[in-house]
């Protein structure tokens, strides 16, 4: 089995994976009754009429979480190949990995110290 065939499998999987769950939804569309009316389709807010716009402005906190997640994501991505080759590597590799992680942990503690990751 060559490598490209593996990816062909993944490719077909990606095409098929959303279609399988879509099937019952389409079936439901066939069997389900369809009697729309304005009140039924109104936005559900526990029976109270909606006030104002849905798409409100969010606080900057979410963006900070997003950014920190992005940074750790990149870190993880770079650590995976390191971990994969790790058992063939020497102490120098441990040192390099340690320094890499240490610098980022620094940033994490800075964020914690500034209460940037606190939800309020």
């Amino acid at each position: 089995m060559n490598v490209l065939n593996q990816w062909a499998f993944i490719g077909v999987f990606f095409l098929l994976a959303p279609l399988l769950p879509a099937l019952p939804i389409v079936l439901g569309g066939v069997f389900a009754p369809r009697k729309p009316n304005a009140i039924k389709q109104a936005t559900y807010e526990c029976g109270v009429e909606t006030v104002g716009d849905t798409w409100v402005q969010f606080k900057v906190q979410y963006y900070v979480y997003g950014l920190i997640f992005l940074v750790f994501d990149v870190e993880m991505v770079l650590l995976f190949p390191w971990a994969m080759a790790y058992r063939d590597l020497d102490f120098f590799a441990f040192g390099a990995g340690f320094l890499f992680v240490f610098l980022l942990t620094d940033a994490l503690f800075y964020a914690l110290g500034k209460d940037a990751l606190k939800w309020d």
């Binding site: 990816w7 062909a8 997640f69 994501d73 991505v77 610098l103 940033a107 800075y110 500034k114």
Partner: protein
């Protein structure tokens, strides 16, 4: 393995190119920012497919993980921070002729700078087979003679990014 005269690779390449370019067009032409973000994700996904075809499965996974999983979400968060841009009914005016000219110029520079020097010197036969290279990548990250310095510098850069983000966010909160 050939179906109807088109190799699966060629078919996949066509599909991913359409996804990439179509997604990019969607971003450029859509007047709603969140829908634009969704189109951007489509485009980035096409890029991930192209990485697989270029025998870089690791980069493809990184593309999905970092660009689709993290940056896609980050962009949506950023959009939600800007009031009224997310509203489905509201449209933002985009001076797209200006952007088109600037983007076109950039593309031209890219063609001249990156593609022109190697144009014609590569033939399809030279394309390397798709092989596993991730372990070599890991070794080269921590090899003193290869990329250990860039590896650590990346870490420093990421640290700077976190600190910068926090400083800016706190500054904004104080202004409110």
């Amino acid at each position: 393995m050939v179906i109807g005269g088109i190799t699966p690779e060629a078919f996949a390449f066509g599909l991913f190119t359409i996804l990439t370019l179509g997604g990019a067009l969607g971003v450029a032409l859509n007047r709603n920012l969140v829908r634009g973000a969704v189109w951007l994700i489509v485009s980035l996904f096409g890029m991930a497919g192209l990485f697989v075809l270029l025998s870089a499965p690791f980069l493809a996974a990184v593309q999905v993980l970092v660009y689709i999983g993290a940056i896609g979400i980050l962009i949506t968060f950023a959009v939600m921070l800007t009031r009224s841009m997310t509203n489905l009914r509201e449209r933002f005016t985009n001076q797209w002729w200006m952007s088109a000219i600037v983007a076109g110029l950039f593309f031209l520079f890219l063609l001249l700078g990156v593609v022109a020097p190697v144009w014609g010197s590569l033939s399809p036969d030279q394309a390397p087979a798709i092989v596993g290279t991730t372990e070599q990548l890991g070794v080269s990250f921590v090899d003193g003679n290869q990329f250990v310095l860039p590896f650590e510098v990346v870490s420093l850069l990421l640290t700077a990014a976190i600190i910068g983000a926090i400083v800016i966010a706190r500054h904004q909160e104080e202004e409110e």
